[in-house]
């Protein structure tokens, strides 16, 4: 039974909101909704920017809001609002009901009230107090930009830190009732090196989830040295010559290619759209037998980890591809409803103003048996992609990725650095060409932009060899 009395007329974080939430959900069901979900968020973010030897920006931001989603049959209506009063939430429910053209109660749904609160936030209550202060962040960022000042060729030095703290309440008409706190911290370093007509960039980003102390432990000197070396290695690089060739992709952020080119095609949103070539390939071979790929939200401290997804479900470890055979899709509530693939705890959104969608979390290719050297030794004429930049995938599965730091491979050895390389292909053709996986799996944090906004993810892989791919260049 739904509780009958309302204690508060507005959502209050850190307090019991059960009765108010129940009344709002009951209101939606009584108007004919099949399913009602409330996602309520309180955020407290902060960013710091160091340029050269000065802090040039400290920027806190705060937000509160609610995303209300109503399902009727397989359709859904989503309304977001900053108004967290009972009136505001009810009005949003009415608006969603009206959008879905539900004119009378035609559902058979019964709302038995919310279950006992699953409070994932309890052990995390002090996180916000435990994160480094602006003073601590500023000092360390300035140390890192100072470390980058190694050479007069380094003309731009930047260090940036951002901390996103999010408190969420999730309640829905299947009784789901949960609260959680998320904490993401990232730090990035960027340099530009310049010498006469030569110019190069170096950058690196680090990130974690749920470890307030992480920034204090960050080895800024090591990071700055890596970024500096990368920019110096590329400063006088020639442009790569375009063509088809074998490539070795480095571990860590090299996994961005699998994420973009294949991972997105395994999200149920792509099945709904009819934009994945893999929709009817379950239990069929879609990749080389060397490839096993995983998506999970469980690795402690990883940027894409979560205690519950944004639909209140605990994340699972999903083996997407096992020895080249497609085993699973990444699914959320709408995905399960519309495609039949069971939810995997992957319903994610940037914030309350987006409806959740099936999104990746920590996604990586599992380690194989080879060393990095064995992969490189197997190529007589090709490209080693040590560091990848961003990329994109088109509506037909065609992808392209910029290589930030690349080296030619000649007779099994790394030779000169090359710039301007782009990897071009499509997942269906490239996945069977990943013929060797290294034994050095590592993960790297990133941000993924898609239908439900920008979410924190981890990409990863060991070193891998692709037998042949189009390399764009000059």
């Amino acid at each position: 039974m739904v509780s009958s009395s309302i204690k508060s007329s507005e959502i209050r974080f850190g307090e019991c909101n059960k009765q108010l939430l129940e009344e709002v959900i009951f209101y939606g069901i009584s108007l004919g909704a099949d399913f009602v979900e409330l996602f309520i968020e309180n955020s407290d973010n902060s960013s710091v920017l160091a340029e050269e030897d000065f802090i040039t920006s400290v920027s806190p931001s705060f937000g509160k809001g609610a995303g209300i989603r109503i399902f009727k049959d397989k359709r859904d209506g989503f309304v977001s609002t900053n108004d967290l009063s009972k009136h505001g939430l009810m009005r949003s429910v009415s608006q969603a009901i009206e959008m879905l053209d539900i004119s009378k109660k035609t559902n058979n749904s019964i709302f038995d009230g919310l279950k006992i609160l699953k409070d994932y936030s309890k052990p995390k209550m002090n996180w916000l107090k435990e994160v480094p202060t602006i003073n601590e962040v500023s000092e360390k960022l300035l140390l890192s930009t100072k470390t980058l000042k190694k050479d007069k060729k380094v003309v731009v030095r930047k260090g940036s830190y951002s901390r996103n703290w999010q408190e969420v309440i999730i309640a829905s008409s299947d009784g789901t009732y949960a609260t959680d706190i998320r904490l993401h911290q990232t730090v990035g370093l960027n340099v530009i090196a310049n010498d006469a007509q030569y110019r190069s960039n170096g950058s690196k980003r680090f990130g974690s989830h749920g470890i307030p102390n992480e920034f204090r432990l960050w080895d800024q000197e090591k990071a700055a040295n890596e970024v500096y070396e990368s920019s110096m290695n590329m400063l006088y690089a020639d442009y790569v010559q375009a063509g088809q060739m074998p490539v070795v992709l480095a571990n860590k952020f090299g996994g961005v290619i699998f994420h973009e080119a294949c991972g997105h095609l395994l999200e149920t949103t792509q099945i709904e759209r009819g934009t994945t070539p893999f929709s009817n390939k379950l239990n069929e071979k879609i990749a080389h037998k060397a490839v096993t790929a995983i998506d999970e939200g469980l690795s402690e401290g990883s940027f894409g980890s979560l205690s519950i997804d944004d639909e209140g479900m605990e994340p699972e470890k999903s083996i997407l591809i096992k020895d080249g055979i497609l085993k699973k899709f990444i699914s959320d509530r709408a995905g399960e409803l519309r495609t039949g693939h069971k939810r995997t705890g992957s319903g994610r959104r940037q914030n309350y103003s987006f409806a959740a969608a099936s999104r990746m979390r920590n996604t990586y290719i599992a380690k194989g048996e080879y060393t990095k050297e064995e992969l490189i030794n197997s190529i007589s004429d090709g490209l080693y992609c040590k560091s990848m930049g961003g990329g994109s995938v088109g509506a037909t599965g065609q992808f392209n990725f910029a290589v930030e730091e690349g080296y030619l491979i000649k007779n099994g050895k790394l030779t000169k650095p090359v710039k301007g390389a782009t990897l071009i292909g499509d997942a269906k053709e490239v996945m069977p060409k990943i013929s060797m996986c290294g034994n050095d799996l590592e993960l790297a944090p990133g941000f993924c932009g898609s239908v439900s906004g920008s979410v924190n993810v981890t990409v990863g892989q060991p070193h891998i060899k692709v037998d042949s791919i189009t390399v764009g260049g000059r």
């Binding site: 705060f62 608006q95 959008m99 602006i134 990725f401 071009i424």
Partner: protein
């Protein structure tokens, strides 16, 4: 909450906190959007958003900034307090002030603010458009990316010195991206976007026709041999490149060292003399125009490249002070005040005698690559280095016949490109980001599958 109420709230809270100097930019919006999937409503969305960005100056004249969507009295007070704390870390090397033009008169375009049509009508319109596009060709199986939206928003700028501006408007957008597939061929996708002040201003038929034509035209494709080609950039493609390399004329980027220009670049010849580019946010055809920027500076027309010569940088208040000039109305309030162009207009100057005017994309019979649309700009442009390597949709023309290019990238250098323009066609075309004619480049590297 309206503009007056929010300004009053901030004034009162600042008085209580003994903060004498502040300004803020606010955005209040109501958005409605629909998506469909083969005749059925897919996602219907409405959002109501209120966000303010507050800056406060402390006694040392250092600035702190905060953004919040909590516009309650408690929320605003917290935002002011946090901005004040942040001001202790304000940039000591670059003092920011109110824009000296924040009280100057603004030009507001006379445009009818449209009334909302509502979700049901939006849905019916989009369903019909989707159906029409699917029926237009048997190879078009679905419109995976589609949407119709209408937005109603108000922007406000006010400061403790008495500047106050607000501007409200409506805007609607329709996008249709079709996916077509024929047996034993790869799927192809293309589409069209149209915007208007309201849905009734959008030429839906032309959006459907354009999406159909573009998608179907790409059905017969073939790979292209890797090499150097004579290239014609569509107006949309050229504007995409110029916007991607706008750091060339962005004073913020120049000061930060991430531009190809330096502080002394004004007056340099950076392109062929036949090229003019200006920024014209208030252009009649710019649906997204705003009469003032994030610092309250009025929007105005500004010449950027005149006869190939870099004539002006875009400025915020602080960059203008460094360059001893006035802000140009291109500032955005953020963790650091950003600078960006509004609406670029590209045209042929009167110093065009060296152009090869026989190059006309509709009539030229020689071999060339026509680049219709550039993709993945965020990944393939290195603006601080000047290089680009971008996938594109386009055609290979030979003897007046055209064939869609299967998959290819174009790579080059923006400095080379601007100095190797060999024709600027006479006819200018309107796009969603500005106005430009077709631009011909002597030689660019194309990577294909062969």
């Amino acid at each position: 909450m309206n503009a007056i109420e929010i300004t009053t709230k901030i004034t009162n809270a600042a008085n209580i906190l003994n903060i004498d100097k502040w300004d803020y930019g606010a955005s209040f919006s109501n958005d409605y959007s629909v998506q469909v999937d083969r005749g059925k409503a897919k996602q219907l969305k409405a959002s109501q958003k209120q966000v303010i960005t507050l800056r406060v100056w402390n006694k040392k004249n250092l600035v702190g900034i905060t953004t919040t969507s909590d516009l309650s009295e408690i929320g605003i007070k917290k935002a002011l307090e946090q901005a004040y704390i942040a001001s202790e870390f304000g940039n000591k090397n670059e003092f920011t002030d109110f824009s000296p033009l924040a009280k100057d008169p603004i030009q507001v375009k006379e445009v009818d603010k449209k009334n909302p049509l509502g979700i049901k009508k939006l849905l019916n319109i989009l369903r019909k458009a989707e159906s029409q596009l699917i029926d237009s060709h048997e190879a078009i199986k679905s419109i995976p990316y589609n949407g119709l939206s209408e937005s109603f928003f108000e922007r406000i700028y006010a400061n403790s010195d008495g500047a106050f501006r607000n501007h409200s408007k409506s805007q609607a957008a329709l996008y249709l991206y079709a996916r077509a597939e024929e047996k034993n061929k790869k799927p192809r996708s293309s589409g069209s976007v149209k915007i208007g002040y309201g849905v009734e201003d959008i030429d839906i038929e032309s959006c459907i026709k354009e999406a159909f034509q573009k998608t179907v035209a790409h059905l017969d494709y073939s790979s292209i041999k890797t090499g150097k080609y004579l290239v014609c950039l569509s107006p949309d493609a050229f504007l995409t490149l110029i916007n991607a390399f706008s750091s060339i004329f962005n004073a913020r980027s120049v000061i930060d060292g991430v531009s190809l220009s330096n502080k002394n670049s004004i007056g340099d010849l950076i392109s062929i003399p036949a090229l003019n580019i200006y920024d014209d946010g208030l252009n009649d055809k710019n649906i997204s125009s705003a009469p003032f920027d994030g610092e309250g500076t009025p929007t105005k027309k500004l010449s950027i490249i005149n006869k190939g010569v870099l004539e002006n940088f875009l400025h915020s208040e602080s960059t203008a002070k460094i360059f001893n000039t006035k802000p140009t109305g291109h500032a955005g309030l953020g963790s650091k005040v950003s600078v960006s162009p509004d609406w670029l207009v590209v045209e042929r100057s009167n110093e065009c005698s060296e152009l090869n005017v026989s190059l006309d994309h509709e009539n030229y019979k020689g071999e060339f690559v026509y680049i219709e649309e550039l993709n993945a700009i965020h990944a393939g442009v290195k603006s601080s280095q000047g290089s680009f390597s971008l996938p594109f949709d386009g055609w290979l023309y030979k003897n007046g016949e055209k064939c869609s290019i299967e998959a290819a990238t174009v790579a080059g250098d923006i400095k080379y490109l601007l100095k190797n323009i060999i024709n600027i066609e006479n006819k200018e075309e309107l796009t969603t980001t500005g106005i430009s004619p077709h631009i011909w480049i002597n030689e660019l590297s194309i990577t294909g599958d062969e």
